[in-house]
Amino acid sequence: MEKIILIEDDKVIREELQNFLKRYGYIVNAPIDFNNIIGYIENENADLILLDINLPVFDGYYICREIRKISDIPIIIVTSRDSEVDELMSMNLGADDFITKPYNTDILLARIMNILKRTYGSLKTNNILSYKDINLDLSNATVKYKDKSLELTKNEVKILSYLINNKGSIVKRDSLMEYLWKSDYFVDDSTLTVNVNRLRKKLGEIGIEDIIETRRGLGYIMP
């Protein structure tokens, strides 16, 4: 499991972000004492640092510069200053990425994942979602069932993965649509119906029948 150091002075953000990242399987250490932050970072030996800019004692820019003198650990700067100038400054100081508050947590996760993958290779990530005997491989967008496999489009992968992640409970059409919009797929109501039906048909071709059920007026469910 990857270890992330979270340097943030706001108590609520620190705790909530810690909980949030823990849910996604990261070990998160967040120092409360900012006096010897460089020493703390040196001792922790983490895989990634999330760094705020406005901090007591030393500001984030200073810390970033100091870390770069001793280590190449990936740093994501998280700040409420959102102009391009601030972004440029962070990059010049050696940060690997820059996210502005209030951040979209999906984006934050994606950035963390990307940077970790880029720095340490993708050996630790698990890209296969399973449902009963069906395996959905996210890295090459294929579904495997028994000895047959089937390629899906990007959108179909998104729909199927969301349904599998919520297996056993009803997924509202609206939440499914919100999820799709958040991941860059701008679908309207009727298109979604078409997409789900096409997905069912495709799955039917390799013998997977009736795994996506429609609950009229509520949404979809993979029981």
Partner: protein, 339 residues
């Protein structure tokens, strides 16, 4: 200053001298003095007076003509006291001194207000960054406790965030500071970000979205452009039609520019209002119909576009929808170096 004005100014002196002289003449005539002597007295009396007035007139005319010619050529008329030449007569000197005093004091005063404005702007910027921390923590709390209620709160928080952003850009739009960076940006990414920011409205108001041909590279500041497009799409959503609402976004590449068009089939803008939509605080007919109008969105768009060197235009008709076009210039040089 012309001769008429000067004589009018001196009417009192001239008239009283004439009157006194006439009385003297009457006196001299009754005393049987010869005409030659009366003429002589006239000369002694009036020659110095007239020559004095002529000299005075020339001095004044020269002084005022000079000031007028400087004034005419100045854009900023208030810097006149700095440019005025030394006067060589007492009134001119006094006047110049007064002008200089007044202008010095005025500069102090202007400086004071400029300082106040800078302070205010700095405070607003700090405030905006401060309020983003509680907004961010609220969003995280919502993320960690997802349910129907927090989802609704999340929607409101996003709205708050939008208004806070508007404040920030308003304060940025008013200063000469250059806090943007023109980069080579992909229009598609910017538009997609904006659409994603408004996903709830698109889904819940069942607005059909059609994005076409927007994979264009343009030169602009990404954040600022995103803000501008967000205001425009926000308007399209706010003033959408109830039946089959639709928003079309597409771009057209011309020889020297890229035109991005955002078109809706909403309630549109009445003809008499269309020319005022970029004015600060203008809400018009639609503002009266839909309460949440501040008249700031398009005003800011135009102002920021102006700073970034973009052009914005709007075309609309009642119940026919609104079409906003952003024009991003492409310099020939830049295209050339990009190959």
């Amino acid at each position: 200053m012309n001769i008429g004005e000067f004589i009018k100014d001196k009417t009192g002196i001239i008239l009283s001298n004439m009157l006194l002289f006439i009385m003297l003449v009457v006196l001299l005539v009754t005393a049987d003095i010869e005409t030659v002597i009366i003429f002589f007295v006239f000369c002694i009396w009036f020659l110095p007076l007239i020559s004095y007035m002529v000299v005075e007139f020339i001095k004044c005319k020269k002084y005022y003509d000079e000031i007028n010619s400087i004034l005419e050529n100045l854009d900023k008329k208030y810097i006149l006291p700095e440019l005025i030449k030394e006067a060589n007569f007492i009134h001119g000197e006094k006047l110049n001194y007064i002008l200089k005093q007044v202008s010095r004091d005025m500069h102090e005063n202007v400086k004071y207000f400029k300082g106040m404005q800078t302070d205010y702007r700095e405070y607003i910027e700090t405030w905006v960054h401060e309020i983003k921390t509680p907004i961010a923590s609220t969003k995280l709390l919502i993320e960690n406790n997802q349910n129907e209620v927090t989802n609704k709160i999340d929607y409101q928080i996003d709205k708050i965030n939008g208004f806070v952003e508007q404040v920030l850009y308003y304060s940025r739009s008013n200063t000469v500071n250059k806090d943007y960076i023109i980069k080579h940006i992909n229009l598609s990414n910017v538009v997609r970000n904006v659409v994603k920011r408004n996903y709830r409205d698109f889904i819940h108001k069942k607005i059909k979205l059609d994005i076409k041909n927007i994979e264009e590279m343009v030169y602009s500041d990404g954040k600022w452009t995103e803000f501008i497009i967000n205001q425009i799409i926000g308007n399209s959503i706010k003033y959408s039609n109830n039946k089959n609402p639709m928003i079309n976004i597409y771009s057209v590449k011309k020889a020297n520019s890229v035109m991005l068009t955002i078109e809706d089939n909403g309630i549109g803008i009445i003809d008499k209002d269309i020319n005022s939509v970029f004015q600060k605080g203008f809400t018009g007919e639609n503002g009266r119909k839909i309460s949440q109008s501040t008249g700031m969105g398009l005003y800011l768009c135009e102002k920021l576009c102006c700073k970034l060197g973009l052009k914005i235009s709007i075309d609309s008709g009642v119940n026919k929808g609104t079409k906003v076009t952003l024009i991003f210039p492409l310099s020939g040089m830049a295209v050339f170096t990009e190959g």
